[in-house]
Symmetry: C2
Protein backbone atom coordinates (compact mmCIF):
# COMPACT_ATOMS: atom_id res chain seq x y z
CA UNK A 1 0.00 0.00 0.00
CA UNK A 2 2.57 2.56 -1.01
CA UNK A 3 0.39 4.96 -2.92
CA UNK A 4 -2.64 5.08 -0.74
CA UNK A 5 -4.42 8.35 -0.14
CA UNK A 6 -3.35 10.09 3.04
CA UNK A 7 -5.19 8.49 5.91
CA UNK A 8 -7.03 10.74 8.24
CA UNK A 9 -4.79 9.60 11.02
CA UNK A 10 -1.18 10.05 10.19
CA UNK A 11 -0.27 7.46 12.76
CA UNK A 12 3.13 8.85 13.47
CA UNK A 13 2.66 12.58 13.39
CA UNK A 14 4.54 13.43 16.52
CA UNK A 15 7.73 11.73 15.48
CA UNK A 16 7.38 12.94 11.91
CA UNK A 17 7.05 16.51 13.09
CA UNK A 18 10.07 16.21 15.31
CA UNK A 19 12.12 14.72 12.49
CA UNK A 20 11.11 17.44 10.08
CA UNK A 21 11.71 20.09 12.72
CA UNK A 22 15.18 18.81 13.42
CA UNK A 23 16.06 18.91 9.76
CA UNK A 24 14.62 22.38 9.42
CA UNK A 25 16.41 23.97 12.33
CA UNK A 26 19.69 22.42 11.33
CA UNK A 27 19.28 23.91 7.88
CA UNK A 28 17.68 27.28 8.56
CA UNK A 29 18.02 27.95 12.25
CA UNK A 30 15.62 27.61 15.12
CA UNK A 31 14.06 31.02 14.79
CA UNK A 32 12.80 30.33 11.31
CA UNK A 33 11.00 27.19 12.34
CA UNK A 34 7.31 27.54 11.58
CA UNK A 35 4.65 25.16 12.77
CA UNK A 36 2.56 25.75 9.69
CA UNK A 37 5.43 25.10 7.37
CA UNK A 38 6.21 21.96 9.30
CA UNK A 39 2.66 20.79 8.88
CA UNK A 40 2.90 21.44 5.17
CA UNK A 41 6.10 19.45 4.88
CA UNK A 42 4.64 16.50 6.72
CA UNK A 43 1.41 16.78 4.76
CA UNK A 44 -1.14 17.59 7.42
CA UNK A 45 -3.33 20.57 8.10
CA UNK A 46 -1.95 23.67 9.74
CA UNK A 47 -3.53 22.93 13.10
CA UNK A 48 -2.62 19.28 13.31
CA UNK A 49 0.56 19.82 15.31
CA UNK A 50 -1.55 21.26 18.07
CA UNK A 51 -2.79 17.80 18.92
CA UNK A 52 0.74 16.84 19.91
CA UNK A 53 2.34 20.10 20.96
CA UNK A 54 0.29 22.73 22.72
CA UNK A 55 2.77 25.35 21.76
CA UNK A 56 5.64 26.16 19.49
CA UNK A 57 7.74 26.22 22.62
CA UNK A 58 6.54 22.75 23.54
CA UNK A 59 7.77 21.48 20.20
CA UNK A 60 11.16 22.98 20.89
CA UNK A 61 11.31 21.46 24.35
CA UNK A 62 10.43 18.05 22.94
CA UNK A 63 13.16 18.51 20.38
CA UNK A 64 15.66 19.32 23.10
CA UNK A 65 14.58 16.36 25.16
CA UNK A 66 15.05 13.98 22.28
CA UNK A 67 18.45 15.53 21.72
CA UNK A 68 19.46 14.83 25.29
CA UNK A 69 18.34 11.26 24.95
CA UNK A 70 20.66 10.75 22.06
CA UNK A 71 23.47 12.72 23.63
CA UNK A 72 23.24 10.66 26.80
CA UNK A 73 23.38 7.43 24.85
CA UNK A 74 26.34 8.65 22.87
CA UNK A 75 28.24 9.72 25.96
CA UNK A 76 27.62 6.41 27.65
CA UNK A 77 28.79 4.54 24.60
CA UNK A 78 31.93 6.66 24.45
CA UNK A 79 32.66 6.04 28.11
CA UNK A 80 32.11 2.31 27.92
CA UNK A 81 34.14 1.96 24.76
CA UNK A 82 37.20 3.62 26.22
CA UNK A 83 40.04 2.15 28.21
CA UNK A 84 39.94 1.80 31.98
CA UNK A 85 41.95 4.87 32.92
CA UNK A 86 40.24 8.05 34.08
CA UNK A 87 42.05 10.18 31.52
CA UNK A 88 41.12 7.91 28.66
CA UNK A 89 37.49 7.80 29.61
CA UNK A 90 37.19 11.49 30.22
CA UNK A 91 38.82 12.19 26.91
CA UNK A 92 36.46 9.80 25.16
CA UNK A 93 33.38 11.30 26.74
CA UNK A 94 34.34 14.83 25.91
CA UNK A 95 35.22 13.77 22.38
CA UNK A 96 31.77 12.21 22.12
CA UNK A 97 30.26 15.46 23.23
CA UNK A 98 32.16 17.35 20.60
CA UNK A 99 31.18 14.85 17.94
CA UNK A 100 27.57 15.45 18.80
CA UNK A 101 28.15 19.17 18.63
CA UNK A 102 29.64 18.79 15.19
CA UNK A 103 26.82 16.72 13.82
CA UNK A 104 23.96 18.76 15.27
CA UNK A 105 25.15 22.22 16.22
CA UNK A 106 21.79 23.93 16.13
CA UNK A 107 20.10 21.22 18.13
CA UNK A 108 22.80 21.43 20.75
CA UNK A 109 22.31 25.15 20.95
CA UNK A 110 18.62 24.63 21.44
CA UNK A 111 19.28 22.07 24.15
CA UNK A 112 21.52 24.44 26.04
CA UNK A 113 19.07 27.29 25.76
CA UNK A 114 16.66 25.13 27.71
CA UNK A 115 19.06 25.57 30.64
CA UNK A 116 19.44 21.99 31.72
CA UNK A 117 21.78 22.78 34.59
CA UNK A 118 20.57 24.60 37.65
CA UNK A 119 17.07 23.24 37.84
CA UNK A 120 17.88 19.68 36.92
CA UNK A 121 14.37 18.37 37.18
CA UNK A 122 13.31 20.32 34.15
CA UNK A 123 14.49 17.81 31.60
CA UNK A 124 15.10 14.33 32.96
CA UNK A 125 16.95 13.31 29.83
CA UNK A 126 19.29 16.25 30.32
CA UNK A 127 20.01 15.27 33.88
CA UNK A 128 20.84 11.78 32.76
CA UNK A 129 23.21 12.93 30.05
CA UNK A 130 24.99 15.28 32.40
CA UNK A 131 25.19 12.55 35.03
CA UNK A 132 27.55 10.66 32.75
CA UNK A 133 30.04 13.47 33.06
CA UNK A 134 29.41 14.09 36.74
CA UNK A 135 29.82 10.43 37.62
CA UNK A 136 33.00 10.17 35.67
CA UNK A 137 34.39 13.16 37.49
CA UNK A 138 33.42 11.55 40.75
CA UNK A 139 35.41 8.50 39.75
CA UNK A 140 38.37 10.69 38.94
CA UNK A 141 38.30 12.18 42.41
CA UNK A 142 38.02 8.85 44.19
CA UNK A 143 40.74 7.39 42.01
CA UNK A 144 42.97 10.23 42.99
CA UNK A 145 43.40 11.54 39.49
CA UNK A 146 41.84 14.82 40.53
CA UNK A 147 42.44 16.77 43.71
CA UNK A 148 39.71 16.29 46.30
CA UNK A 149 36.74 18.50 45.57
CA UNK A 150 33.09 18.67 44.76
CA UNK A 151 32.42 16.54 41.66
CA UNK A 152 29.54 18.76 40.66
CA UNK A 153 31.78 21.75 40.75
CA UNK A 154 34.37 20.05 38.60
CA UNK A 155 31.55 18.98 36.36
CA UNK A 156 30.30 22.52 35.87
CA UNK A 157 33.78 23.72 34.97
CA UNK A 158 34.34 20.96 32.51
CA UNK A 159 30.85 21.24 31.12
CA UNK A 160 31.33 24.94 30.51
CA UNK A 161 34.55 24.28 28.69
CA UNK A 162 33.03 21.56 26.55
CA UNK A 163 30.13 23.76 25.67
CA UNK A 164 32.40 26.64 24.76
CA UNK A 165 34.48 24.42 22.55
CA UNK A 166 31.35 23.02 20.98
CA UNK A 167 30.15 26.53 20.26
CA UNK A 168 33.49 27.39 18.76
CA UNK A 169 33.36 24.37 16.54
CA UNK A 170 29.72 24.84 15.63
CA UNK A 171 30.60 28.36 14.60
CA UNK A 172 32.76 26.82 11.96
CA UNK A 173 36.04 27.89 10.54
CA UNK A 174 38.03 25.20 12.31
CA UNK A 175 39.38 22.04 10.71
CA UNK A 176 38.36 18.75 12.31
CA UNK A 177 41.96 17.86 13.23
CA UNK A 178 42.37 21.22 14.84
CA UNK A 179 39.27 20.75 16.92
CA UNK A 180 40.40 17.26 17.91
CA UNK A 181 43.70 18.43 19.22
CA UNK A 182 42.04 21.44 20.81
CA UNK A 183 39.73 19.17 22.73
CA UNK A 184 42.62 16.94 23.64
CA UNK A 185 44.55 19.91 24.96
CA UNK A 186 41.58 21.09 26.95
CA UNK A 187 41.16 17.77 28.68
CA UNK A 188 44.88 17.53 29.40
CA UNK A 189 44.90 21.01 30.80
CA UNK A 190 41.90 20.25 32.94
CA UNK A 191 43.45 17.12 34.39
CA UNK A 192 46.88 18.67 34.90
CA UNK A 193 45.40 21.82 36.35
CA UNK A 194 43.39 19.84 38.87
CA UNK A 195 45.79 17.04 39.58
CA UNK A 196 46.05 15.84 43.15
CA UNK A 197 49.20 16.63 45.05
Amino acid sequence: MPDEARPYHHGNLRAALLDAAERTIEKSGTERLSLRELARVVGVSHAAPRAHFTDRQALLVALAERGFDRLGAQLKAARDGAGPGFGERLRAVIAGFITFANSRPVLLDLMFSAKPYGDKARLPAAAEALAVVYDLIGDGVTEGALAPGDPERYGLLLYAWAQGLASLIAGGGLEPEVTDSLVSDAVSTFIRGNAAG
Copy 2:
Protein backbone atom coordinates in the same frame (compact mmCIF):
# COMPACT_ATOMS: atom_id res chain seq x y z
CA MET B 1 10.02 72.10 25.94
CA PRO B 2 8.98 69.02 27.80
CA ASP B 3 5.48 68.63 26.48
CA GLU B 4 6.00 69.46 22.86
CA ALA B 5 4.21 67.51 20.22
CA ARG B 6 6.31 64.77 18.65
CA PRO B 7 8.43 66.29 15.92
CA TYR B 8 8.35 64.62 12.57
CA HIS B 9 11.99 63.81 12.86
CA HIS B 10 12.87 61.98 16.00
CA GLY B 11 16.47 63.03 15.71
CA ASN B 12 17.86 60.09 17.56
CA LEU B 13 15.79 57.18 16.47
CA ARG B 14 18.56 54.72 15.82
CA ALA B 15 20.05 55.00 19.28
CA ALA B 16 16.64 55.13 20.89
CA LEU B 17 15.62 51.94 19.15
CA LEU B 18 18.78 50.17 20.18
CA ASP B 19 18.33 51.26 23.77
CA ALA B 20 14.75 50.11 23.87
CA ALA B 21 15.66 46.88 22.14
CA GLU B 22 18.36 46.14 24.66
CA ARG B 23 15.98 46.67 27.52
CA THR B 24 13.37 44.51 25.87
CA ILE B 25 15.56 41.52 25.09
CA GLU B 26 17.03 41.59 28.57
CA LYS B 27 13.53 41.48 30.00
CA SER B 28 11.69 39.20 27.63
CA GLY B 29 14.27 37.44 25.50
CA THR B 30 15.52 38.06 22.02
CA GLU B 31 12.89 36.00 20.25
CA ARG B 32 10.07 38.13 21.56
CA LEU B 33 11.58 41.32 20.27
CA SER B 34 9.18 42.95 17.84
CA LEU B 35 10.05 45.87 15.62
CA ARG B 36 6.51 47.20 15.77
CA GLU B 37 6.39 47.04 19.52
CA LEU B 38 9.73 48.78 19.62
CA ALA B 39 8.39 51.53 17.41
CA ARG B 40 5.41 51.90 19.71
CA VAL B 41 7.62 52.18 22.76
CA VAL B 42 9.78 54.83 21.18
CA GLY B 43 6.74 56.62 19.83
CA VAL B 44 7.19 56.39 16.09
CA SER B 45 5.25 54.71 13.36
CA HIS B 46 5.53 51.03 12.74
CA ALA B 47 7.70 51.44 9.66
CA ALA B 48 10.07 54.04 11.03
CA PRO B 49 12.73 51.55 12.14
CA ARG B 50 13.12 50.52 8.54
CA ALA B 51 14.91 53.77 7.83
CA HIS B 52 17.71 52.67 10.14
CA PHE B 53 17.59 48.90 10.01
CA THR B 54 16.68 47.15 6.80
CA ASP B 55 15.80 44.06 8.71
CA ARG B 56 15.01 42.68 12.09
CA GLN B 57 18.25 40.78 11.78
CA ALA B 58 20.11 44.00 11.06
CA LEU B 59 18.81 45.42 14.31
CA LEU B 60 20.11 42.39 16.16
CA VAL B 61 23.51 42.65 14.51
CA ALA B 62 23.75 46.31 15.44
CA LEU B 63 22.84 45.38 18.98
CA ALA B 64 25.58 42.77 19.05
CA GLU B 65 28.10 45.18 17.64
CA ARG B 66 27.33 47.77 20.28
CA GLY B 67 27.68 45.03 22.86
CA PHE B 68 31.15 44.16 21.63
CA ASP B 69 32.15 47.79 21.79
CA ARG B 70 31.24 47.93 25.42
CA LEU B 71 32.72 44.54 26.18
CA GLY B 72 36.01 45.51 24.59
CA ALA B 73 36.17 48.70 26.60
CA GLN B 74 35.39 46.83 29.78
CA LEU B 75 38.04 44.21 29.14
CA LYS B 76 40.67 46.83 28.42
CA ALA B 77 39.77 48.70 31.57
CA ALA B 78 39.99 45.51 33.59
CA ARG B 79 43.39 44.68 32.14
CA ASP B 80 44.78 48.14 32.68
CA GLY B 81 43.43 48.38 36.20
CA ALA B 82 45.05 45.15 37.36
CA GLY B 83 48.49 44.53 38.76
CA PRO B 84 51.50 43.81 36.58
CA GLY B 85 51.59 40.02 36.87
CA PHE B 86 50.20 37.84 34.13
CA GLY B 87 47.97 35.90 36.49
CA GLU B 88 46.50 39.05 37.98
CA ARG B 89 45.75 40.54 34.62
CA LEU B 90 44.32 37.39 33.17
CA ARG B 91 42.10 36.96 36.18
CA ALA B 92 40.95 40.54 35.94
CA VAL B 93 40.13 40.31 32.28
CA ILE B 94 38.20 37.09 32.63
CA ALA B 95 36.41 38.52 35.64
CA GLY B 96 35.48 41.52 33.54
CA PHE B 97 34.12 39.21 30.94
CA ILE B 98 32.01 37.44 33.49
CA THR B 99 30.80 40.70 34.97
CA PHE B 100 29.56 41.64 31.57
CA ALA B 101 27.87 38.29 31.26
CA ASN B 102 26.14 38.84 34.58
CA SER B 103 24.91 42.30 33.76
CA ARG B 104 23.69 41.58 30.23
CA PRO B 105 23.23 37.86 29.82
CA VAL B 106 20.83 38.00 26.92
CA LEU B 107 22.90 40.50 25.02
CA LEU B 108 25.97 38.35 25.44
CA ASP B 109 24.09 35.39 24.12
CA LEU B 110 23.04 37.39 21.13
CA MET B 111 26.63 38.48 20.58
CA PHE B 112 27.86 34.91 20.61
CA SER B 113 25.13 33.71 18.31
CA ALA B 114 26.57 36.07 15.73
CA LYS B 115 29.64 33.82 15.84
CA PRO B 116 32.33 36.44 15.99
CA TYR B 117 35.21 33.96 15.94
CA GLY B 118 36.19 32.07 12.85
CA ASP B 119 35.36 34.76 10.39
CA LYS B 120 36.80 37.56 12.41
CA ALA B 121 36.08 40.26 9.92
CA ARG B 122 32.36 39.91 10.42
CA LEU B 123 32.21 42.18 13.43
CA PRO B 124 35.24 44.44 13.84
CA ALA B 125 34.24 45.32 17.36
CA ALA B 126 34.21 41.63 18.20
CA ALA B 127 37.69 41.14 16.86
CA GLU B 128 38.93 44.01 18.95
CA ALA B 129 37.37 42.66 22.11
CA LEU B 130 38.85 39.23 21.54
CA ALA B 131 42.23 40.73 20.79
CA VAL B 132 42.45 41.83 24.39
CA VAL B 133 42.41 38.22 25.47
CA TYR B 134 44.71 37.01 22.71
CA ASP B 135 47.29 39.68 23.38
CA LEU B 136 47.30 38.96 27.05
CA ILE B 137 47.89 35.31 26.39
CA GLY B 138 50.77 36.25 24.15
CA ASP B 139 52.25 38.21 27.03
CA GLY B 140 51.84 35.19 29.28
CA VAL B 141 53.83 33.04 26.92
CA THR B 142 56.66 35.53 26.48
CA GLU B 143 56.78 36.13 30.21
CA GLY B 144 57.16 32.43 30.72
CA ALA B 145 54.02 32.08 32.80
CA LEU B 146 52.66 29.67 30.22
CA ALA B 147 54.51 26.85 28.52
CA PRO B 148 55.73 27.78 25.04
CA GLY B 149 53.00 27.46 22.50
CA ASP B 150 50.84 29.20 19.98
CA PRO B 151 49.15 32.17 21.67
CA GLU B 152 46.18 31.91 19.38
CA ARG B 153 45.74 28.31 20.35
CA TYR B 154 45.82 29.19 24.03
CA GLY B 155 43.48 32.01 23.27
CA LEU B 156 40.95 29.75 21.64
CA LEU B 157 41.01 27.40 24.58
CA LEU B 158 40.58 30.15 27.10
CA TYR B 159 38.01 31.95 25.03
CA ALA B 160 35.98 28.78 24.73
CA TRP B 161 36.05 28.34 28.45
CA ALA B 162 35.07 31.91 29.16
CA GLN B 163 32.23 31.67 26.73
CA GLY B 164 31.00 28.43 28.22
CA LEU B 165 31.08 29.93 31.69
CA ALA B 166 29.34 33.02 30.44
CA SER B 167 26.67 30.90 28.82
CA LEU B 168 26.24 29.03 32.03
CA ILE B 169 25.82 32.28 33.86
CA ALA B 170 23.61 33.80 31.23
CA GLY B 171 21.41 30.76 31.49
CA GLY B 172 20.81 31.66 35.08
CA GLY B 173 20.30 29.38 38.01
CA LEU B 174 23.71 30.13 39.51
CA GLU B 175 24.38 32.53 42.35
CA PRO B 176 26.81 35.36 41.59
CA GLU B 177 29.25 34.23 44.30
CA VAL B 178 29.22 30.74 42.88
CA THR B 179 30.02 32.05 39.45
CA ASP B 180 32.82 34.20 40.83
CA SER B 181 34.60 31.33 42.46
CA LEU B 182 33.89 29.15 39.46
CA VAL B 183 35.63 31.65 37.26
CA SER B 184 38.49 31.95 39.67
CA ASP B 185 38.92 28.19 39.64
CA ALA B 186 38.84 28.12 35.88
CA VAL B 187 41.61 30.65 35.54
CA SER B 188 43.72 28.90 38.15
CA THR B 189 43.23 25.59 36.43
CA PHE B 190 44.14 27.08 33.11
CA ILE B 191 47.35 28.61 34.38
CA ARG B 192 48.36 25.57 36.40
CA GLY B 193 47.47 23.23 33.58
CA ASN B 194 49.61 25.16 31.15
CA ALA B 195 52.43 26.27 33.40
CA ALA B 196 55.91 26.21 31.96
CA GLY B 197 58.31 23.60 33.23
